[in-house]
């Protein structure tokens, strides 16, 4: 590195000119400045005109409404919320709900999508046809229709809470959602969690050590008995030493609904199901395209080394296919997140529903609220792309090594 002669840095003026003018020279620069000024002016006009119009009609404006009391209930909130909280809190509740359904949707869409995508290429006739049928059926039906289908036709057809389907007398499924026992933490929970973390870290370290030994010295170590002993033994020891980390609260039917336990509302289930199955169909196609983009010789080479079909796919083909799969996969993640705003149709309290819906109609401040909501979706999308971009760089680097 040090021995290489460095090029003289370009003069600042030339550099600037290259960046700004391209081939058109100084006239191009002037045109670009005029164009930029025009856009700024247009933006200012829009802003000033909206402000004047709002003042003329004496519509409230500004962001003061965020500290006013909301006064309405929300059916699902992962952070503490009551009607006496502010609109700013409603915004947070909606944002968390959007993020949760998007995250769950992304995880399941990826799992289903990869399975179906690989399935389409399977040598098994039935698996290939079922996967193909899934993709064609799901991706050709409108998403809103699928959300309503899951919500009204599937979950709506479940019995009411008093006749709910019970599994082992502890899990209940009804048209009010899924009710499961709730763990109530005791003081010893911290020790229990620490034990699990320690066990997992130790197991990972052991695995890394075994791999290094394999690659450097060609020695294969059997580690699974130790890993098992770590993962089960350590937490078990803590439970015996400090007592049970939590007790279980079993839900019970009281009046209209279940009291106690954890409840997953059907709106969430329907939305997460519809979003993940729908997006999975598109991801499956990306995965198939990615795998098919890897030259067939790679497969043959892998198998000629004595690797099984599955191992060749996992170790040789998929890592190369990832390079092709990742960019469109990012698109699908972004689509899924934005599509979650269809939640309003089935009453799931996502950001769009509670903030750009209820809050907007109660305060009437369309411009501020739509601007905030657009900004938030933009931010979520940009963060997702950046994260996926970083992952893509890692994949590329490991391939070109």
């Amino acid at each position: 590195m040090a021995s290489e002669a460095r090029k003289a840095p370009l003069q600042f003026g030339i550099k600037l000119r290259r960046i700004l003018c391209g081939r058109a020279g100084w006239t191009g620069l002037v045109l670009q400045i005029v164009f930029a000024a025009l856009i700024v002016w247009l933006g200012y006009e829009i802003f000033a005109n909206a402000k004047a119009n709002l003042q003329n009609q004496r519509v409230a404006s500004g962001f003061g409404f965020l500290s006013q009391t909301a006064g309405f209930g929300v059916s699902q909130s992962l952070i503490p919320y009551s009607e006496s909280d502010t609109y700013a809190r409603v915004f947070l509740v909606g944002l968390v709900n959007t993020l949760v359904v998007a995250a769950v949707g992304i995880v399941f869409a990826t799992l289903i999508g990869f399975a179906v995508g690989v399935g389409r290429l399977s040598r098994n006739w039935l698996v290939a046809r079922i996967s193909g049928g899934y993709v064609e059926l799901i991706r050709n039906l409108p998403l809103l229709f699928q959300i309503l289908f899951w919500y009204l036709a599937v979950l709506g057809a479940l019995p009411g809470p008093r006749q709910s389907i019970s599994l082992f007398g502890e899990i209940f499924i009804s048209n009010r959602g899924l009710v499961i026992p709730r763990p109530i933490p005791h003081d010893s929970l911290t020790a229990f969690l620490v034990a699990i973390v320690v066990a997992v870290v130790a197991a990972l370290a052991l695995r890394a050590y075994a791999r290094r030994k394999l690659f450097r010295e060609g020695q294969l170590m059997t580690i699974w008995p130790y890993v098992l002993a770590l993962l089960i033994g350590l937490p078990l020891f803590v439970v015996l030493a400090f007592g049970t980390p939590f007790s279980i609260e079993v839900p019970q039917l009281k009046g209209f609904n279940f009291a106690g336990g954890l409840r997953v509302v059907p709106e969430f289930v329907a939305l997460a199901l519809a979003l993940s199955t729908y997006t999975a169909a598109f991801i499956a196609e990306n995965v198939r395209a990615g795998i098919q983009s890897v030259p067939h010789g790679q497969m043959e080479a892998g198998e000629s080394l004595g690797l099984s079909h599955g191992a060749t796919l996992r170790l040789i083909v998929v890592p190369q296919a990832m390079r092709v799969i990742l960019p469109p996969l990012t698109n699908q993640y972004l689509n899924l997140t934005k599509n979650s705003s269809l939640a309003v149709a089935i009453g799931y309290p996502d950001l769009f529903s509670v903030f750009a819906g209820t809050t907007l109609s109660q305060t009437g401040q369309a411009i501020e609220i739509i601007a905030i909501t657009m900004g938030v979706y933009l931010l979520i999308s940009i963060l997702t792309s950046v994260a996926m971009g970083l992952y893509g760089r890692r994949v590329n680097r490991s391939l070109s090594r």
Binding site: R58, A60, G73, N175, V344, G364
Partner: protein, 338 residues
């Protein structure tokens, strides 16, 4: 996703300027040759299209009455169906000239939304619709219930006030449109459907087995429903306000769709003033002298419209109750036309 486009369109409209439409609604309506009237997406009795696509209902009659007074033709109305949460933005942006959509008059709406309520077409209150099979006889037995509601209404906040006030728990599930809310209630997602009581009766008719559902006796709020206009155009505000007052005054003075021509020949001074054979009250509003004659010919007086749409002469069969005239035991009262 239609509402997304409505809201987006409205934001753009607000931003790019509708300033001309703000100050001269009367002129704009006359030049356009039609009245743009915001109504519900289908609420029998108040605003709903019939099988031929004609809009009918109490709220629709107000639109037609305004069109009759301004354009001399009750048919020259363009009805714009709006969900509860889109209605105010549509009015603010100038997409509609008047909103006549079972909308509750409250202080915050009257001030910070940039609108003016013009009067009350229907005195309503919020109640609960419930399955008879649940054997609930009072709203006070609803502790722990799941409640379906349409988002963007006063109903959402009223439920919270009522349940917290009575130390009861509840789960509120808010849907975007009335239809989605009803579907969720029908599917059993909620124990209770809450809305203004007139709407509960109207929605009950839409259910597959109306007899299986009952409206609980409690009325938990005041919901005075009426038409509203944008801030900033006093003349238009007056026209809409006095159109409704004219319908109520016509009932009080016994002027009906049938007898309006004869009544116009009457020598009684209050009738002469109202029906324009004496003085120039209509012209003071920016309309013609016979404005009330036009209104009554088009939709009848308030009582006729009430009976035809929500009262004894309709499927709903709601009694006049509070909406009876002030001199017959109700509270409907209009300032005099003089």
């Amino acid at each position: 996703m239609k509402h997304v486009y409505v809201v987006a369109g409205v934001v753009i409209a607000l931003a790019l300027g509708v300033q001309t439409a703000v100050a001269q609604t009367l002129k704009t309506v006359k030049e356009r040759g039609s009245l743009s009237c915001g109504v519900s997406q289908g609420l029998p009795g108040f605003s709903t299209p019939d099988d031929k696509g004609n809009w009918t209902g109490l709220d629709v009659d107000v639109c037609r009455a305004i069109a009759a007074a301004v354009l001399n033709d009750p048919a020259k109305v363009k009805f714009v169906p709006l969900s509860a949460k889109d209605r105010f933005t549509a009015l603010q942006s100038g997409e509609i000239d008047v909103l006549s959509r079972n909308t509750t008059w409250t202080l915050s709406r009257d001030t910070s939304l940039g609108v003016n309520f013009t009067g009350v077409t229907y005195y309503d209150g919020q109640g609960f619709l419930i399955r008879k099979s649940l054997k609930v006889n009072s709203a006070l037995e609803l502790n722990g219930a799941s409640i379906c509601v349409q988002t963007g209404t006063t109903n959402e906040q009223n439920v919270s006030d009522y349940f917290n006030g009575n130390h009861m728990k509840y789960e509120l599930i808010a849907f975007g449109t009335a239809d989605e809310t009803v579907k969720a209630y029908e599917s059993g997602r909620c124990d209770v459907f809450t809305s203004d009581i007139s709407q509960l009766y109207s929605i009950r008719l839409k259910l597959s087995a109306p007899g299986d559902h009952a409206v609980l006796p409690e009325v938990i709020s005041k919901e005075p429903l009426g038409p509203l206009v944008r801030h900033g155009d006093d003349q238009w505000f007056d026209i809409v306000k006095w159109t409704l007052f004219a319908m109520i005054n016509a009932e009080e003075l016994g002027v009906t769709q049938k007898n309006v021509d004869e009544m116009a020949k009457s020598s009684k001074p209050d009738l002469k003033r109202m029906l324009g054979t004496e003085g120039n009250l209509g012209e003071q509003l920016g309309l013609t002298k016979d404005w009330v004659v036009r209104i009554v010919k088009a939709v009848g007086n308030y009582g006729e419209s009430f009976d035809r749409n929500v009262g004894a002469g309709s499927n709903l069969g709601i009694s006049r109750g509070l909406n009876q005239l002030w001199n017959k035991g109700g509270i409907q009262y209009a300032p005099p036309i003089r």
